[in-house]
């Protein structure tokens, strides 16, 4: 873990430690992981911006159906390209010590495909089709499913899930914390 140290000043590390859920050691480890995605580029400039295709080579993201969404959400330029700070931010949100509320916030953004701050029917459809992958549910099944989800979760009956409603679900889920997590 020692070799990455020269690339950061003590001050930067302190900043990262204060602003993420990582310790300094973990930050350095994260940087190693980031570096392994594009060694020569990052070796040159520690905070280099890697294109989304590079970021998606990270094993957990490459097989994740929401991989692209995750990159877009965390990218500071909104196009999926991530700097090291964006990457660190991502890992910190997915780490074990991030609180449920922060994780829920990001999960909501990931699922909110059209970006209207509500999980509407089209968002839900996209989420489900991404989840099931190659196996497609029929249209009637899909509608049934969405109707059921809305029945459970849509407290104010407006046909879409707001963040508060989404958070309500997440609060009551025992598995969310252990599944919405990527080990560094």
């Amino acid at each position: 873990m020692g070799q990455g140290k020269s690339q950061f000043t003590e001050e930067e590390l302190q900043d990262y430690q204060d602003l993420t859920y990582f310790t300094k050691k973990e930050v350095l480890y994260a940087h190693q992981k980031f570096k392994s995605l594009a060694p020569e580029k990052v070796g040159h400039n520690k905070n280099a911006k890697l294109p989304m295709t590079k970021i998606l080579q990270y094993p957990e993201l490459s097989v994740n159906p929401f991989g692209e969404r995750i990159c877009k959400i965390f990218s500071s330029s909104q196009d999926g390209d991530c700097t090291f700070e964006d990457f660190l931010d991502m890992m910190s949100v997915f780490s074990q010590s991030a609180p449920k509320s922060v994780k829920a916030e990001h999960a909501f953004r990931i699922f909110d495909f059209d970006g209207d701050d509500m999980l509407g029917v089209s968002d839900l459809k996209q989420v489900i089709s991404k989840l099931t992958g190659e196996n497609k549910l029929s249209d009637s099944e899909l509608n049934w499913l969405i109707q059921n989800i809305l029945e459970e979760a849509d407290l104010d009956d407006d046909g879409a899930l707001s963040f508060a409603e989404f958070e309500h679900i997440i609060d009551r889920s025992s598995d969310f914390l252990s599944t919405f997590r990527i080990r560094l």
Partner: protein, 788 residues
């Protein structure tokens, strides 16, 4: 969740871009509703409030564009409703043009500046909070925490942090600190530093980190939960081993090397039986002396050391186990209110396991999610289908029969064990038979249980799992119970404690051989055979393996008191099991085809181990207080073991006042009273929880009705005014949009902040009749009409 003030906008930068086209979309009730009901985020205040008259749409819009804010809906609706209005159209156009200009700007890479602007805004909001801006460590800690929990990008956070620390150091008037305050600050700094270094240490020392990651990546968090459980048990046992070894075994060996005889007459068979030569070694209770060992000038009292080390270890395991049970139980049952509502939403939103890192696992996972969704849908669709009486009767009878059969099998295995032990005690059968038979039973029966449960007609997999777990648990504990009661009933052996220790030693040793050598070999052979014919899919049975670990642990807890060295053995065993299982799982098994509710089942497993430890401790309590000691071991000076406290440590004589009190407190009647009081308290808490659940249901219903009311009122407003309604922008804006988290301005808007053109309205109301078929409060609505 928590009611922390929000210093940021809930939405990220620039997620939404809406251009001029959006401004001219036809208004819909959905849009109207969204203006009042749906929006969670509140408008961020623009820098200069004097601009906020009705003509500043372009201002607002441009700002929205810059900060990607979600307030647009209100203003957008304003624009929409005025789209016939020429002025409005022009304004909208201007806004659109400006918006496009901003977007172009953004494209040309003016991002840093925007981040800077955004950071300024957040800083401005945070600066208003005096609690955050103090120049003290606590406030600094608070600042860090607030920033850390803010869902914004890291670059922005760093920017904000820098600005904040600048403004804090500018503002603070450096007063000389008082002594006490200085001390307090120092303490809090040291505390946070200590916490951090502990976190660092925990990260460094996390055992088997890479393996855990690989297992999670290949098999998801279900299989990983078994390994986590195993690791937890290993760490606990290793700690116990360390303590017993250093406080009990080492002093005894030192003592023995001074006064004892030489070891002789060792046979290889002794390792298996634990008898012969091994009987009189540090393995067992009987070997430990009842004397004090004097290392000049210190005196080490062996009985005291033995007793208190053991008690402390049991209490320590009990405490750590109950703490983790409590935490887990709270997390997966209390906070989730049983965790069984929202099955669909849970499956969809929490279905994916983000730990997964390999292609094939990901494919299987999405297949599993697909299957489960289909199953759930089928269940819901055909739920109404009633079963005929005959079918119900048949399944019930079947289940009853199965329960009976299982109980008989359990009783039979208990009897078999008693019989074998009796034989080995009286007719000198080799004690190995008992251990072998018990291990075969423990290896075979759980497989039989998990097999027959499929034919008992339980619908839910959860019920199936529960019954299998309960049966396995009863089996394990039944065997241990028979074992202990046999030696308590036959105390005529000259050192029954050692005999009990030997019995447990054998069981653990054979379990060792089974789980480290035999069962992996069997797995390997079955894998080889089945891969000859077809594509082999060996699945890892999480429940069975975890129960095996729990059984092993229960045995260990019973045996620890009679055989201190057992701890070392069990730790080595768990250590080896980890590696054997890990290799087998990674090499042979394929990922599970069904999802495993890891969080809840882990809680069950923890609860089962907690229960078994509780039972073991009750058993030990009985042994300590009511079973006479034999002539060997550290407590042979006393009649009962507990007298080491009352007679030895406290120097109490019978008939003493304290003695009387102790007698009274330990009377069954008194303990029953305490238990009843505890039960009453639990009952009270339960009733309270249930009442609260009821209230939550009522609130939920109210929420629904309220939003229906709003919807209805809005429909009426737009109907009456024919779209000619408007908001007073100032009303909504006066409130500090950031600090008022709830959508207050919008609610207010519903109740009467709309302005109408009076002339048009009077025309409308004469011709329009309000629909009266709804059951909401129409008076309230018409009352407003009159007022305005």
């Amino acid at each position: 969740m928590d009611n922390k003030p929000v210093y940021y906008q809930r939405t990220p930068l620039w997620t939404v871009t809406f251009g001029a086209d959006d401004l001219h979309r036809a208004p819909s009730t959905k849009g109207l509703r969204s203006a009042f009901v749906e929006r969670n985020s509140v408008p961020i205040a623009s820098g200069n409030d004097e601009n906020l008259d009705d003509n500043c749409f372009e201002n607002i819009n441009v700002e929205n564009e810059i900060y990607g804010n979600r307030v647009y809906s209100i203003h957008r609706n304003q624009l929409r409703s005025q789209r016939n209005d020429i002025d409005g159209a022009i304004e909208a156009r201007v806004g659109g043009i400006k918006a496009r200009a901003v977007r172009r700007n953004k494209q040309t890479g003016n991002m840093m500046e925007s981040i800077e602007n955004h950071a300024e805004l957040i800083v401005a909001k945070m600066e208003r909070d005096s609690e955050l801006m103090e120049d003290s460590p606590t406030s600094e800690e608070l600042r860090k925490e607030t920033l850390r929990d803010m869902p914004q990008c890291l670059t922005l956070k760093r920017c904000v942090k820098e600005k904040l620390s600048k403004s804090v150091s500018q503002k603070s008037k450096r007063k000389p600190l008082g002594c006490w305050k200085m001390f307090k600050y120092r303490m809090s700094i040291t505390k946070s530093k200590f916490k951090l270094s502990m976190k660092n240490l925990a990260y460094m020392l996390e055992l088997w980190y890479g393996t855990m990651k690989r297992i999670e990546g290949n098999f998801g968090s279900g299989v990983a939960s078994f390994f986590k459980f195993l690791r937890w048990m290993f760490i606990l046992d290793a700690f116990i081993a360390l303590v017993t070894f250093s406080f009990i075994v080492v002093p005894q060996i030192v003592f023995h090397s001074r006064n004892g005889t030489l070891f002789e007459g060792f046979q290889a068979m002794d390792i298996l039986t634990g008898e012969g030569y091994l009987t009189n070694t540090f393995l067992y209770y009987g070997f430990y002396t009842n004397q004090s060992i004097s290392y000049t000038p210190l005196v080490y009292s062996m009985p005291d050391a033995y007793f208190f080390t053991m008690i402390c270890l049991y209490l320590f395991s009990f405490a750590s186990l109950s703490i983790s049970v409590a935490i887990d139980y709270r997390r997966s049952f209390i906070e989730t209110e049983g965790g069984l509502q929202n099955i669909f939403a849970n499956k969809v939103f929490c279905g994916w396991d983000y730990n997964i890192a390999t292609e094939s696992t990901a494919r299987l996972k999405s297949r599993a999610i697909y299957n489960e969704l289909k199953e759930l849908l089928n269940e819901v669709m055909y739920e109404s289908e009633k079963e005929t009486f005959i079918v119900v009767f048949w399944t019930r009878t079947m289940q009853l029969m199965m329960h009976l059969m299982v109980s008989i099998t359990l009783a039979a295995s208990g009897y078999l064990m008693w019989f074998l032990m009796d034989k080995s005690a009286k007719e000198n059968w080799s004690p190995i038979y008992t251990a072998l038979v018990v291990n075969v039973i423990m290896a075979v029966m759980p497989i039989v249980f998990s097999f027959i449960i499929n034919y008992e007609g339980y619908k839910k997999p959860k019920t199936k799992l529960m019954f299998t777990l309960v049966r396995t648990f009863i089996l394990g504990f039944g065997i241990i119970g028979v074992l202990v009661s046999f030696w308590l009933k036959n105390p005529d052996a000259d050192c029954w404690e050692t005999s009990l220790g030997q019995e447990i030693y054998r069981l653990i040793l054979f379990d060792f051989i089974f789980s480290v050598i035999v069962s992996p070999l069997l797995d390997l052979v079955s894998y080889c055979i089945c891969s000859l014919f077809t594509d082999c899919n060996l699945h890892f049975d999480i429940a069975r393996h975890t129960m095996q670990i729990i059984y092993n642990q229960t045995l260990f807890w019973v045996g620890l008191f009679f055989s201190p060295f057992l701890a070392v053995m069990v730790s080595i065993k768990l250590f080896l099991i980890w590696y054997v299982r890990k290799t087998l799982v990674l090499k042979l098994c394929s990922p599970p085809s069904r999802s495993w509710r890891a969080a809840q089942t882990t809680t069950w497993f923890l609860m089962i181990s907690f229960l078994s430890l509780l039972l073991v401790m009750a058993l030990l309590g009985y042994i300590i207080t009511s079973t006479p000691t034999s002539t060997c071991g550290p407590f042979s000076n006393y009649e009962y073991i507990y007298e080491i406290v009352t007679l030895g440590l406290l120097q109490l004589r019978k008939g003493n006042q304290v003695w009387q009190i102790l007698l009274f407190v330990t009377k069954p009647g008194f303990i029953a009273l305490v238990l009843i009081a505890l039960c009453a308290r639990v009952y009270y808490m339960r009733a309270k929880a249930q009442a609260q659940r009821g209230i939550v249901a009522i609130y939920r219903e109210m929420l629904k009705w309220e939003s229906r009311d709003k919807e209805f009122l809005l429909d009426n407003i737009s109907f009456l005014t024919r779209g000619q309604w408007q908001y007073k922008v100032q009303e909504g804006r006066e409130l500090d949009p950031i600090t008022s988290q709830q959508g207050v301005p919008r609610l207010r808007g519903v109740q009467g902040d709309f302005i109408r053109d009076p002339s048009r309205f009077s025309g409308a109301s004469s011709s329009v009749e309000l629909p009266l078929d709804s059951d909401i409060d129409m008076q309230h609505f018409s009352g407003h009409e009159k007022n305005t």
